[in-house]
């Protein structure tokens, strides 16, 4: 299984072990960690919620795209629920014969996950406040898609 959502602590050691292969010479992994601050506020906890009936097909599409563009094997896990500072929110692992493809594919996957995987983050601050933090840009798939929206909706 190349993708999973989990409400348990992500164990990168176990996930990495599943990608071991004697023909693979290069391994690149990426982890997103819960930071203790964001945009000047002290973060106590994050709550991630997902659209669990949609996320697997989106994740599979992203991984398929990466495996079509590059000669790699990839896996992806995203945590949901309540996360503490230092917890892993997302893990990506990529193996290949050669290193260049591992970096490009790992970055391709995490960049697309950030924009396309239907998961949302609520930040709970140490002062008791909370916010659904959105990136500054549109959550649309890509610029072409955004332009499509603009053209068809006059907005």
């Amino acid at each position: 299984m190349k993708f999973s959502l989990t409400d348990q602590i992500i164990d990168p050691t176990a996930l990495r072990a599943k990608l071991l292969a004697p023909a693979a010479g290069a391994y690149c992994s990426y982890e997103g960690w819960v930071r203790n601050h964001n945009e000047g506020k002290d973060v106590a906890e994050l709550h991630y919620s997902s659209y669990a009936a949609l996320a697997p097909s989106i994740a599979a599409a992203i991984i398929d795209e990466a495996e079509a563009k590059f000669s790699i094997e990839a896996a992806l896990v995203h945590r949901i629920g309540a996360l503490q500072v230092g917890d892993i929110a997302v893990w990506v692992g990529v193996t290949a014969h050669h290193r260049g493809d591992t970096f490009l594919a790992c970055r391709y996957i995490i960049d697309n996950v950030k924009h396309r995987l239907p998961i949302w983050k609520k930040e709970l601050y140490t002062d008791g406040s909370a916010a659904w933090v959105e990136n500054k840009h549109c959550g649309c798939t890509d610029q072409a898609n955004l332009e499509h929206h603009l053209l068809h909706h006059g907005h």
Binding site: Y51, W120, K121, V133, H149, H153
Partner: protein, 79 residues
């Protein structure tokens, strides 16, 4: 027609519910969104959201049909 609306993230917080059933005659996604946006004070414009129909991403123009499950998706903030 009967439509089920699924709410996620900020939209679930503002509506106070994960989903609801609505009875519609207008098959326009935009008209549906405008009605719930007014009701729950959702901050997003229609074009800022992605749309899922029956758990698949959909165009904003797709006509609604009886029994559809619709989700309006705020910009994603995974990772």
């Amino acid at each position: 027609m009967q439509i089920k609306i699924l709410y996620f993230a900020q939209l679930a917080d503002l509506s106070g519910k994960p989903e609801e059933q609505v009875e519609l005659t207008d098959p326009s996604l935009e008209a549906l969104y405008q009605s719930i946006q007014a009701k729950y004070h959702f901050p997003h414009t229609f074009t800022q959201l992605q749309i899922a129909v029956n758990h698949q991403l959909s165009s904003h123009q797709k006509p609604l049909k009886d029994g559809d499950e619709i989700a309006f998706l705020p910009p994603m903030t995974s990772g």
